[in-house]
Symmetry: C2
Subunit: 383 residues, 2 copies
């Protein structure tokens, strides 16, 4: 079945004098969220699933935009008969604040100055990103999500939603994620940030309408891509294959396919993503720590939601042991949590490309979550 | 026992018209090698061990330079009663060509122009680096090394020596190394190179006497340090500890200790290492592939040397499986090889810091290698 044509929608809120108060204490407003929906919201608003994207993702999770041949970033997972079945569920995906794909971020115009925020954009957190999307869900008239779901940064957001608004969702699906950013995860982000900030064209964040910090963005993206793959998947895909020569060139032009691949991915990144957004979003991830105050066990106390936690054997950026610690703390609270580690070679990218295994698990999980919820709706209607 | 004061020595060869022909076909000369020795060469030159350093290492492997409190990079392993026991063995360590610690490299003066080579320095290979050190060993009057040893890049060099000059050594000690650079190893180097080359001060390699490419070097070194540690050692050393604040700063200054550590290591790197040397040496590593022509099994055919191969469980830059492939190919040739994987959390850095376990293994290995060799010398003397 062909995937539908979809259109991005926009919701603006937190207008003066009702700006949103951020975790830092600073205020942000007005805030616009770009979002898309797939499927139909049922009469009692009980079939809504909120999907959160990863660091450089956007609201376009499925289907096609008019006159575009590029499907949404999780298209194989969302649609009629797919894991997130649009025949049954109403799927929502919004671009995170701090991003650059339609939602308010550092490249947005600051209404107070008429110029892009740049570095004057307030530093946001995963918590702020989640709270801003609660405004959207309220706006759509949804009292309780069937599920909050996401991989990588999206997983952190789904996790944060489930502990911050536990009464507003039935379940959470956490894929290739963590309950806090670790030293290595922070370190890898910090190198990427330093690469961007050391590009003279970054110009302290003031580059809009000028030359872009392309070189810094390229280096940051190359680091990113290495961390998204696995040692094995890089070896299987590239090995020591040469790009376009019979033998090595004995110079610093590109010899190996893996070099060309990374350079291409790196150089094209600046065209599709805003450098300041990369700084703000990566910082939000690094600040995330669900276990900071009372410890992880206490955070999950009293939660009645169902959880499905998925990891991938070859994911060294968000290794399975981190999710296992989270699952252990959930189980210590008698939470209904299933944990599955899928055997893949794709590394962290697995959550985007390992469709078959995830689809089965997600479909089954959502059916189990939906069964009592939908049964309740029917009986409500019968009364 | 106090370690001795040592002095770096210099050996110059390959003078016109006897320049060394490199693997690329280009010529290099004159070549100077900076080297140090520890212990005393015995009468029949049978107790010499050649140690190769890693990427940013130098000839100063042990002891102290006059008026310096900095010991050599492998000092805990080399000395009286230590693994490389200077009471028994004569240890040699030379700075690799392409480097910047006294041996001929891109920062050396090109006698043809009177200016630093910069990018006009010919691209060198691990093979070239090894061949150049054979000149030194010949110069020292040593016909057959007791052992060629090294970790990381030094391991590649020891391996290359053992297959290129099999009659000139009794044994090789290969630590945390590989028989070819893999896609991920190439990728990590390529990002580091791009970080350097995208710094405007790099200026196509022509920065000597001008402003140095400090930012590019810093980013490249930060990447390096992440790969030299392990996920676990970073977590144990830094975790989410904050640098100097009660709480996070909600800005892009340094929040976490791991960020400060990497920034410090990054910013100091340009003072101690030459950017062009980093490019040339990393490229030499990436070109290394012992299995390219006839396959690995054939490369080891007929070798009579003893090998000790050591890896570390937490080393994800040179993971153990790569050494195991090499050991398997050696065993297929009935080579006398021992393989030990040491359980550590230090990652690739283990070869520099995990002293106790390595010392036992190395001491035992060298004694076994030396026993028949030294016995032969004694019986030769008796005749």
């Amino acid at each position: 079945m062909n995937q539908p044509i979809v259109e991005t929608q926009y919701f603006t809120f937190a207008k003066s004098p009702h700006e949103m108060v951020l975790k830092s204490g600073l205020k942000l407003g007005p805030i616009t969220l770009a979002y898309e929906t797939y499927g139909t919201l049922n009469a009692d608003q009980s079939n809504a699933i909120l999907i959160f994207h990863a660091l450089t993702g956007d609201a376009h999770a499925a289907g096609y935009h008019k006159d575009s041949t590029t499907p949404g970033w999780w298209d194989p997972m969302i649609g009629s008969g797919r894991a997130f079945d649009t025949d049954k569920y109403f799927i929502i995906c919004a671009n995170a604040i701090g991003g650059c794909k339609g939602s308010t971020g550092p490249s947005s115009i600051n209404p107070a100055t008429g110029k892009p925020y740049g570095l004057s954009f307030p530093v946001i957190t995963i918590e702020d990103m989640v709270v801003s999307q609660k405004y959207l869900i309220d706006h759509l008239g949804i009292k309780k999500l069937l599920c909050a779901a996401g991989g990588s940064m999206g997983g952190l957001m789904a996790l944060e939603w489930s502990v911050r608004f536990p009464d507003s969702l039935h379940s959470a699906l956490l894929i290739a994620t963590n309950y806090k950013h670790t030293a290595q995860q922070i370190a890898l982000h910090e190198v990427a940030r330093q690469a961007i900030m050391s590009d003279p064209h970054w110009n302290n964040g003031d580059y809009y309408g000028k030359e872009l910090p392309a070189q810094g963005m390229a280096v940051s993206r190359m680091i990113g891509h290495i961390t998204y793959m696995s040692e094995r998947s890089m070896e299987e895909k590239f090995g020591r294959k040469l790009q376009d020569k019979e033998k090595v060139g004995y110079d610093f032009s590109q010899d190996f396919e893996v070099e060309s691949y990374l350079r291409y991915r790196g150089s094209s990144f600046v065209q599709r993503f805003d450098a300041n957004s990369y700084l703000f979003l990566s910082k939000a991830l690094d600040y995330f720590n669900l276990s900071d105050k009372q410890g992880l066990q206490a955070v999950f106390k009293g939660l009645k939601n169902k959880f499905l936690v998925i990891t991938f054997t070859s994911d060294w950026l968000y290794p399975s042991y981190q999710s296992k610690e989270m699952v252990k703390a959930m189980k210590g609270n008698d939470i209904d949590v299933s944990f599955i580690e899928i055997d893949t070679t794709y590394g962290h990218d697995s959550f985007l490309v390992e469709i078959e295994g995830q689809s089965k698990l997600v479909k089954h999980f959502l059916e189990n979550v939906a069964k009592p919820v939908f049964a309740r709706s029917v009986s409500d209607e019968a009364i």
